[in-house]
Symmetry: C2
Subunit: 225 residues, 2 copies
DNA sequence: AAATAAAAGTGTACTTGCAACACTTTTTAC
DNA sequence: GTAAAAAGTGTTGCAAGTACACTTTTATTT
């Protein structure tokens, strides 16, 4: 299909990416959302989005959009879905591909986020968003939840070293239901790729809690047979 | 974001859809593939594809592409992934969204398929395809397999009435491994939305096998509580 | 120095779903 | 009537998951 004529009879469209950026804080999942502080549609909320540029891979466009907002460029990101309703963007026709990103909420660039008028909003308090962005959030949440039950992607929401209490709270937030402490710890103990660092965190308890880390080599080793 | 100037600084791209059309015959999954019978790239194989047109929903574009080839317009279809590598189409830059479709292989329009120089190819014999179409097939297969373990989507590959032996052969083809007959039938017996029609199929055995059908109302009722 | 408070950490019994496994029934064709 | 070919049918064992409550440790307070 290398004939120019073959392509030229077909229309072209803007290609956007919209990013559902998840964080985890105080036992709840949050999203990083932007509030427009200029007209039109001043005050309305949206996902972090942008357009795919010439010569730019679509995955790279999504990474760029997140990096421009957070300063972080090595995040865990996955494509969720492409939305192509004719009237989804009332301005012009735009096809948009949604990606989700997982952020350690301690690490992002606060200046950049402030400059973009972006805020972390806890999941139950997500406002009405522009266009079909609420649907994108629902789809991303469902997909992220599924992935979290299959692989330890959730760990990307925690700092490098974490306690089992934090990890349990994270999974409770992701799955939206309480988990039995003893059963949870039994399951984690079977995962040799979640290993004790030897360190102890005393910020959250008097007794102190053992710190753990994710060992990527061991994890990859387990599954790349 | 309703200002024209906001959009116009960004490039536009062709938006394609490519369809992985699954069928099931003689105990094996097949794909409906096209072989180019004209230059350039004469003889090369590809998925059924097409471009999204103005005023056309992207899902509708995928349905149109499959309908133009098979004559079938009410198939089970799901979006798989969007491929946006810069050089994925050596002609012009094209972003392509892959969909899979499930076809009752007895039902398609043979004239249309012949006119398009398309052929059913069994999965183990899939040839090298143009561009990134082999990767699309792998991704679609993985996604379809996952969905088949979660919901009875596979039934869309069978005729309205089917025997349990056919259904088991289908799931063996989808999952790529043999299934124990008694365990399989026990599991099916628990699904009240797979019900006996009362009919008997004698084409495949002397004894005759009970015919079953999928009851969509019962299925929806079970899960829409 | 003793009491208190607050989170970390630990084991067992029960239930349930999945996996392994082989023979009988029915009917047509020879 | 016998042979062939597919349909149909139950039980047992195992493993994974679930339910469930008390002890340990240490900083803070009195």
């Amino acid at each position: 299909m290398a004939e120019q004529a073959f392509y030229s009879v077909h229309p072209k469209f803007h290609a956007a990416v919209d990013c559902i950026i998840f964080g985890f804080e105080e036992g709840e999942l949050s999203l990083l959302l932007l509030q427009r502080n200029f007209e039109p549609a001043k005050g309305e909320w949206s996902l972090a989005g942008g357009f795919v540029e010439d010569g730019e891979n679509i995955d790279d466009a999504a990474r760029r959009v997140v990096a421009e907002l957070t300063g972080l460029d090595d995040l865990y990101m996955r494509q969720v879905h492409t939305y192509g309703e004719v009237e989804r963007d009332p301005g012009e026709r735009v096809l948009s591909t949604a990606y989700y990103a997982l952020v350690d909420i301690k690490k992002y660039d606060r200046e950049l986020v402030r400059a973009h008028n972006a805020f972390w909003i806890k999941l139950p308090a997500i406002p009405r968003l522009i266009f079909d962005h609420n649907r994108m959030v629902q789809d991303a949440l469902r997909f992220m939840r599924y992935q979290a039950t299959v692989k330890p992607v959730g760990i990307n929401l925690l700092p490098e070293e974490f306690t089992l209490t934090q990890l349990q709270a994270l999974y409770e937030a992701i799955l939206g239901e309480p988990i039995d402490k003893r059963n949870f710890r039994k399951r984690i103990a079977q995962m040799d790729y979640i290993e004790k660092t030897g360190g102890i965190d005393k910020t959250l308890s008097r007794k102190g809690a053992a710190l753990y880390r994710f060992n990527r080599e061991k994890y990859d080793g387990n599954f790349k047979i």
